[in-house]
């Protein structure tokens, strides 16, 4: 049972480049989330999904796009990378929303835009 798998773990981008951060879970979870964590700060929600084909914006969606074509995968797309997107990105998933639903986190992707 791999849990939540994020790839890559580290990446350096040049300004204006694009990339996709991959996230996959093998727990048949309906809910998936993308967060970013800036240095010295807490996590902020970028996008979330409550099931395949359904996505919605979180607190800081500008500059990002997501898709959810399958239950397992929830990729995050960065278009025209900017230095402000330098951050650590976490993917998370849970079976449902609620107090008793444990949220599983991936190990994060550290992204630098130079």
């Amino acid at each position: 049972n791999a849990g939540v798998t994020q790839t890559p773990k580290f990446r350096i981008l040049k300004i204006g480049q694009s990339m996709t951060l991959q996230c996959a879970q093998d727990m048949n979870h309906n809910y998936m989330y993308w967060y970013r964590q800036d240095p010295g700060m807490g996590l902020k929600l970028i996008y979330y999904s409550v099931g395949a084909g359904i996505t919605d914006k979180g607190e800081v969606p500008n500059g990002y796009n997501v898709s959810r074509s399958t239950t397992e995968d929830f990729p995050l797309r960065l278009e025209l990378a900017a230095p402000s997107q330098t951050s650590v990105y976490f993917c998370a998933s849970s079976y449902a929303k609620g107090f008793n639903e444990k949220l599983f986190f991936g190990s994060g992707t550290q992204l630098s835009v130079l």
Binding site: M41, L43, Y48, E59, G98, K102, S107
Partner: protein, 117 residues
Amino acid sequence: AQTVTQSQPEMSVQEAETVTLSCTYDTSENNYYLFWYKQPPSRQMILVIRQEAYKQQNATENRFSVNFQKAAKSFSLKISDSQLGDTAMYFCAFMTGTGGGADGLTFGKGTHLIIQP
């Protein structure tokens, strides 16, 4: 929108001491959940303890306990008999209990806890 405030950027205590981390939040909702997460240098997010807003009784998990004051919108974490392995960033987080959407967690900025040998 909800906000979560952690007013202590960093705390340092000696091993075996008791330490309390502060967290306040602001919300207009009556149904919500509160959490404390630990993030060691490995970056992994680890759930420490959680509390349902409608429960008066404070949650306890081994050496970790909370002091939940709903009227004051305060949710502090107490770590007893602190250990070197407790050294980490600690985040307080809020989740709404209403609505059909996922909403996700709202996090505070974190407190860096250092346990000195």
